[in-house]
């Protein structure tokens, strides 16, 4: 089972939800949390595990053998990303524009192009008991967010394990790359017009992808039913409400888990996990 935690708008509490939920679930069963917000991964700030290993992630870029190249220019004509430019007696490659589609390598009539590599980021694995954390981290100035997400998702656990994705914000390629491999999406929404607007974009995207979903309201205030009303209309279950409280904001600021520090929050997350598992089981049957 793969559950993705998503929000559309940034800062609604994806990381808060993902880390606390993964911790609760990992107290009983094997759980792997994937931090797929690879541009700004934060889960490791809350799950401070000591046993870590990091590997570099590389993507293909063309490597031109100029002793074979006839400067025919076919590679440059077919490249949709303008990542390879042929001059009279030189071929220039722009690694930051390359999407690693292998088109130039496939189509070079002289077989003058082979696989070179560029670093796009790193993947860090860490574990503590039944809970493991896999973090993708995009190299600064690199744009291959989607490729790194897809590579991070492939660090699969050995056994039957609950997998939780902490998704990137927004609704475009990085989010879609994350959501397409998930079985169920848990949306975190805050009850403001911005929160509702961006959540609606995510719901439309997920409906188009035919993904089942449920909602957690974060920064919930008595009397404010903006998100609940929307969910009622769209027939989406609301599984929990995390209140708007200064002590929660301060605990998050410090880098601590609210299940450990704030009374009542452990119970809230145990109950959320129970309802989440119920939802996904109903969906399966």
């Amino acid at each position: 089972m793969i559950v993705a935690i998503a929000s559309g708008k940034g800062g609604t509490g994806k990381t808060l939800l993902a880390t606390n939920l993964a911790h609760i679930a990992g107290e009983q069963n094997n759980v792997r949390l994937f931090d797929l917000d690879v541009e700004e991964p934060n889960d490791h700030l809350f799950l401070k595990f000591e046993n870590q290993s990091t590997e570099a992630v590389k993507n293909m870029i063309p490597l031109v053998d100029e002793s074979l190249c006839t400067y025919c220019g076919i590679c440059s004509q077919i490249c949709e990303y303008h990542a390879i430019i042929t001059l009279a007696d030189q071929v220039m490659v722009f690694p930051e524009l390359c999407h690693s589609c292998y088109g130039c390598l496939e189509l070079c009539p002289e077989n003058a192009i082979s696989e070179g590599f560029k670093d796009i980021g790193t993947i860090t694995k860490a574990a503590n008991g039944k809970l493991s954390l896999v973090t993708g981290r995009l190299r600064i100035s690199e744009t291959a967010t989607t490729a790194l997400i897809s590579r991070t998702q492939k660090v699969l656990p050995d056994s039957e394990t609950l997998q939780i994705y902490d998704a990137p914000p927004g609704t475009s390629c990085p989010f879609i790359e994350t959501a397409k491999r998930a079985d169920f999406i848990l949306l975190v929404a805050e009850p403001t017009p911005f929160g509702l607007h961006d959540m609606d974009l995510v719901v439309q995207t997920l409906r188009q992808m035919d993904k089942p979903m449920a909602v957690v309201v974060n920064k919930s205030e008595p009397g404010n039913t903006l998100i609940e009303d929307y969910c009622m209309e769209k027939n989406i279950a609301v599984l929990a409400r995390i209140p708007l409280r200064d002590d929660i904001a301060r605990t998050y600021a410090t880098g601590d888990l609210i299940i450990d520090k704030i009374p009542g929050m452990r119970y809230l997350f145990v109950e959320l996990l129970r309802r989440l598992i119920n939802e996904t089981e109903t969906m399966r049957s």
């Binding site: 559309g8 708008k9 940034g10 800062g11 609604t12 990381t15 917000d37 541009e39 700004e40 934060n42 700030l45 809350f46 077919i78 949709e80 990303y81 999407h99 690693s100 589609c101 292998y102 088109g103 496939e106 189509l107 995009l138 600064i140 100035s141 690199e142 744009t143 967010t145 989607t146 990137p168 914000p169 927004g170 609704t171 475009s172 390629c173 990085p174 879609i176 397409k180 009850p191 403001t192 017009p193 911005f194 607007h197 961006d198 974009l201 439309q204 995207t205 188009q208 992808m209 920064k219 404010n224 708007l244 200064d246 904001a249 301060r250 998050y252 600021a253 410090t254 880098g255």
Partner: protein, 288 residues
Amino acid sequence: MKEIVVLSGKGGTGKTSITAALGVAAGGQAVVVDCDVDAANLHILYQPQNEQVHEFYSGKLAVIDYKTCSACGVCEEKCRFDAIQFEDGRYVIDEVSCEGCSVCSHLCPEKAITMIENKTGNWYQSRSRFNHWFVHARLGIGQENSGKLVSKVKQEAKKLAETEHIPYLIVDGPPGVGCPVISVFSGTSHVLIVTEATRSGLHDLKRLVELIDFFKAAASCVINKYDLNETITREIEAFCRAHRIAVINRIPYNGIFSAALRNNQTLMEAGDPMIIDKINEIWNHLKT
């Protein structure tokens, strides 16, 4: 023209609330641009009037002609983006995964795949309800290439500022440090960083500053919610000092941000004089 881009790395630091208020504080001296095309929010507060709508096409999408397709499977084998699957006896393009690289179309032995232009979204030019110029965009549901739409929106806003002789561009940037943020950098005179006093805020700030240094852009910083954790605030200040970034203001954790949002108001209308003063101070600092 001075171009000010507001960035935060982390989402939810108050970037859009502050940008919206700066746009009002500028009092017609700035074209305000929403470059967070993926989850655009400024239009909610600005309620644009007399919108001109423009369609934006970018990138390509593969389409299979089943009359000529022999179902040989070369396209599926060669696609590096898992965008072609065999379903119900035929190969099908997954439009969401297709990166428009055209490799399948070049390698198809039957020439059965063509590439079509892909509509990525719309961009809009309008006047906000405060009567300043406002340029924003909406990425189509499930579309990619948001980086190209970001560049387009900014280019158009710049053209507008030049024709209308408006001295400033205030740009609400996208979150993160990836493709859309990198697209917003070209031509930027100044980055205003809006961070928050949380561990995540500081972590993401460090990555953002690494990118700002990479582009050799000038920057200044506002610390929002500075009283959430004053130890972290001091760490942010020390970090900014080491990177020669001026911390130009600190804003307390204040209910007025969400109260203003709930009423669809900018911070300039929500009526907290301390916050209004701070926004004016930030604007005065930026425009000099």
